[in-house]
Point group: C2
Chain length 217, copies 2
């Protein structure tokens, strides 16, 4: 069983060396490189192809987030673990989007850090509790937003059909051709729809349709 090859990136030399010492004391972990800046980190990651990159987020010049994105682009099999003092949601989300495999606070216990390194090596994602809560809350917020589907406020089948076509951007005569109807009939349906929904413009109809999930972007 080969050791987990780790690259440690942090501009604070003392802190970095402390981390390296802690990691080296583990039988299953091997520190294969260190970097004190974002540029060094990228070249080191490409050359050494480590299993896990421990990345500080706040570094002078190029930030750890862009370095993370760069590393994931050039060396996708490297799992980047963000190690930071910032317990901030926006940083955390940025880290996820940059392709990070985890987010650990510097205030965390060493056991958590080791767990995170091993998780990252397995391809799993390690998140600290606040981040997990934020992510779940975000999911629930989005799930709730998507729940207000259905319930077309008393529209008939034909009216929903017409509304669907209107919302696609089709004009009244176009719809008339498509449904083999007189334009007057389509017009009539449209009038009914707008009366029922208390909407008074095509714009409002389209927004309504999108809000109800009738059409996609």
């Amino acid at each position: 069983m080969s050791k987990i090859r780790v690259l440690v990136v942090d501009d604070h030399t003392l802190f970095r060396q402390g981390i390296v010492g802690l990691l080296e004391s583990q039988p299953d972990i091997e520190v294969v490189g260190q970097a004190g800046g974002a540029k060094d980190a990228i070249t080191a990651a490409v050359e050494l192809s480590p299993d896990v990159v421990l990345m500080d987020i706040s570094m002078p010049g190029t930030t750890g987030l862009t370095a993370t994105a760069e590393i994931k682009a050039r060396s996708p099999k490297a799992n980047v673990l963000i190690l930071t003092i910032h317990d901030r949601e926006d940083y955390f989300y940025q880290a996820l989007r940059a392709g990070a495999s985890g987010y650990v606070l510097k205030g965390a216990d060493i056991r958590d850090l080791l767990d995170a390194v091993r998780s990252a090596n397995r391809g799993d994602v390690y998140l600290y509790p606040t981040a997990t809560k934020a992510l779940v809350a975000d999911y629930l917020r989005r799930a709730k937003a998507g729940e207000d589907r259905a319930g077309y406020d008393g529209l008939t089948d034909r009216e929903r059909e017409i509304l669907h076509l209107i919302a696609q951007g089709k004009t009244t005569p176009e719809i008339a051709v498509e449904l083999s109807l007189s334009p007057h009939t389509v017009q009539s349906h449209r009038d009914h729809i707008m009366t029922k929904l208390d909407l008074h413009s095509k714009a409002a109809l389209i927004k309504y349709a999108i809000a109800k999930g009738l059409i996609e972007l």
Copy 2:
């Protein structure tokens, strides 16, 4: 420091008693009740007001998920931890939506279960690795869909401003009044917008604006 009051719900008596034994052996955890069915679980949760409910997801009759939702509705301060053999994404998402504070597999280590119970008691969310990965993947999928923001395909500031107002459903003369411009000017901007975006109707403009996140529902 008072102990963490736990209610254990599982229809498999032997397994349930095993879990109870393991929990009772912890100095900071106290099992205050057990239930072998969803109905019993709900009444027990209301009566005992435990800190944490360990809930099996697959039970005959009313499922653990509906029981979870019911408990969260009637006794919101109880943190429900789903304990199941099913490593299935859909169950996991359903559990989140039902208000669960965590999701632990029965195949997990006892240390993980204890961590989860303590996390739930703190109000944190505990997820097993697969679930975390799924949640992150879901977030990234949604984030990517929403990323096509900005990059308004070469629109000028003024044009974006006009587009924003159009997408709100305002008519050309209304916009002219609002910006103290001639209707002809607004018309001209609108023409430019439609030419640049290769869109040919108000409907298309609104859908474009929504897709780009310019306006909300």
